[in-house]
Amino acid sequence: MSSGSSGSRSSRVPRRGFLAVGAALTAVVTLSACGAKTDAAGSSSDKAAKIDVSGDTVKVGLLNSLSGTMAISEVTVRDSLKLAIDEINASGGVLGKKIKPISEDGASDWPTFAEKAQKLIKEDGVAATFGCWTSASRKAVKPVFEKNKSLLFYPVQYEGLEESPYIFYTGATTNQQIVPALDYLKSKGLKKLYLVGSDYVFPRTANKEIKAYAKANGMTILGEDYAPLGSTEFSTIANKVKASKADAVFNTLNGDSNVAFFKEYKSAGLTAKSMPVVSVSIAEEEVKSIGTQYLAGQLTAWNYYQTTAGAANAKFVKAYKAKYGQDKPTSDPMEAAYTSVYLWKAMVEKAKSFDPEKVKAASDGITFDAPEGKVTVDGASQHVYKTARIGEIGTDGQIKEVWNSGKPVKPDPFLKGYSWASGLS
């Protein structure tokens, strides 16, 4: 994480101002001396954030976009986090303390995420923070959590190629979602793919991986198109997809764009039978807002569906609907968020401390009987073993599982276990 710049340890007088103006002002104010240079072994553990454990509560931060374009997705994650916290509090809390959630609005704006993350850590003294959705927001807060040695639990599937010592990734990394989806397509003989994605990090990185996979597995990529985030005009892309006569479309669009894409897809006369679309960002919530008339029969790749079997899920779905309304669906990111709170609780209880370093040390092997099935934390990568599931969207708005990986897949964010991925990172 530290910059790898070389050079000897500085022996300059530390009281030298680093800019003329700065120097003059320093003299005037005589308040500050210059701090550590980048190449000095500066960061010491005393900078770690103070966690406020006074009283009988412990605070945690909920950092989600409640306004702006991403609010359509992130509000449900916040709701689901609150549900988990309520449940834990109702059953006695963590280490005898009730969890007090502090909710902040990231406002779909990356610098705001960074600001609010700092606020949660430094002002509120939270023991851990849960949230973020887009990769951009995660990248923006990553240095904040690292600098302050505070923990972030990130609940959304993402593009991989990342490991931060202070982030736990409870959503899928690529080998738990995209690779299984590709395996599935290959097994069905759908070998000519068209890639459609939003223009940002996740789709571009995911498509890079897909192309590497395709090359190694005798599949062909007939085209690749990106639309700016929030773009809602897809007629041209639909035309291109149609003209390509691909076997299937791999869809990494995010948010609003999916609605427009699937409406256009149907208008172009394309169907799940003639050219299925595999989506990795369409969960039950999105199905509800797009409509089954456009989506029925299409495929999705996740680790959890509302229909996933098991008592844990039945309980989760029931509790969620009781709290937020019978018409509210549950989805994979919501489930991963819900699970992340329980995982944190288990880690804290194992460590018998809220101290992030001790929590991290205790994380390896923590398991939880989650709605998606049993999950286990991989302490080395701080990702989670998850079961990959391919689902088909039904006319009732539910997603029916058509395939699963049988057992939880070990997280491999850098795809080290896949020879075709060797050139990627």
Partner: protein, 361 residues
């Protein structure tokens, strides 16, 4: 003459007061985190100084300041990313998303700190000069100018997002570790960044004040009030406007450049239409034509955004919207006009005290 002198004494007093507030009181009173936020607010205030000049004085609807802010910010961040990576290495995001094995040619000059520093101000100014030359010559005015600026802001943001391998795409340039050799991890250095920003703000305010009070400043107001008339006096209003526009762009660029070490990120989200509007709103709420008003307004609006969203994370946009509406619809001169009102009332009171008979109206 006396009036002038009185004004300048007041200005110096105000300046000194602001310096004490920024350099002594704020660092003592605020936690590191809040001081960091203040640094961020001061950056928006720097943009507001330029807006006050170009819009308040020159009547130019500067709805594209995000472009210049972004150019300055990216120029700075590119250098810092190269420096973070160390000699011979690529910045982290290029290794992740790119295929290139060496820096793209247009990154290379930014390896040089002097070039990068100069570029933070000169690049936005050059772009503004080029644009302004066309726009003002062709007499693009009012709503057209506003919408045009927005289109440019949108275009730049979309372009940056599309170039993920070389610009970081939507993520922008993040995780900036050092600032010219000083680790940004260290709170002491963070504090220094704050001081630099505060000093830069005061410097920009001094420059703007000089411009506003100069003959040029009077001419600028004349152009705002009646461009055609100025032309018949033998001036080319395009040049007059161009100066204000370019200066405002340079100020926004510097603000963007200093925003980077203060916040540690620059991204297309800071460039597009929304931030461009937000920059203007701060100045408008405070009072576009008054330098102090614009600066305080920008700080106040930015602070209100933080405070309201911390207090009411789910409903703060109501308050924010309401603030804009009330301030702008009912106080056309911004909050600064309140001060003028108070002063006028006091003056009237004084007058009535001397001449008790009437005249108060």
């Amino acid at each position: 003459m006396n009036v002038l002198k009185g004004r300048s004494v007041r200005a110096w007093a105000g300046f000194a007061g602001a310096a004490v507030l920024l350099f002594a009181i704020a660092p003592l009173a605020l936690s590191d985190f809040r001081l960091g936020l203040l640094a961020k607010y001061l950056c928006t205030a720097m943009v507001a100084v330029g807006i006050c000049l170009a819009w308040g004085r020159g009547g130019l609807l500067t709805l594209g300041q995000g472009v210049f802010f972004g150019l300055g910010g990216y120029a700075m961040a590119m250098h810092l990313k190269i420096a973070d990576a160390g000699p011979g290495n690529l910045p982290d995001f290029m290794q992740l998303y790119g295929t290139a094995t060496e820096l793209p040619w247009w990154w290379k000059p930014f390896e040089n700190p002097a070039f990068a520093l100069a570029a933070t101000v000169l690049l936005p100014m050059a772009v503004a000069a080029l644009l302004g030359l066309f726009i003002f010559r062709r007499r693009v005015k009012g709503a057209y100018f506003a919408i045009l600026s927005q289109a440019l802001a949108a275009a730049l943001a979309i372009w940056l997002i599309g170039q993920q391998a070389t610009t970081g795409g939507t993520n922008g340039l993040t995780d900036i570790q050092g600032f010219f050799g000083y680790s940004l991890d260290d709170p002491v250095n963070q504090r220094m960044v704050y001081f630099v920003i505060a000093a830069a703000l005061l410097l920009l305010m001094a420059i703007a004040r000089q411009l506003i009070n100069s003959r040029y400043g009077e001419l600028l107001v004349a152009v705002r009030d009646s461009e055609e008339r100025v032309r018949f006096l033998g001036y080319d209003p395009a040049n007059v406007k161009l100066v204000a526009y370019v200066v405002a762009a340079g100020m926004a660029g510097l603000a963007g450049a200093l925003f980077v070490p203060a916040v540690g990120i620059i991204s297309p989200a800071l460039i597009g239409i929304v931030p461009s509007i937000e920059f203007v709103i701060g100045a408008a709420v405070g009072g576009r034509a008054s330098l102090v008003g614009a600066v305080l307004g920008a700080i106040a609006v930015a602070w209100a955004k933080t405070a309201l969203s911390e207090e009411f994370p789910a409903a703060w946009t109501y308050f924010q919207g309401l603030l804009f509406i009330v301030a702008l619809a009912f106080l056309p001169g911004g909050l600064a006009s309140l001060a003028v009102l108070v002063r006028r009332r006091k003056a009237v009171e004084r007058k009535t005290a001397v001449i008790p008979v009437g005249e108060a109206a």
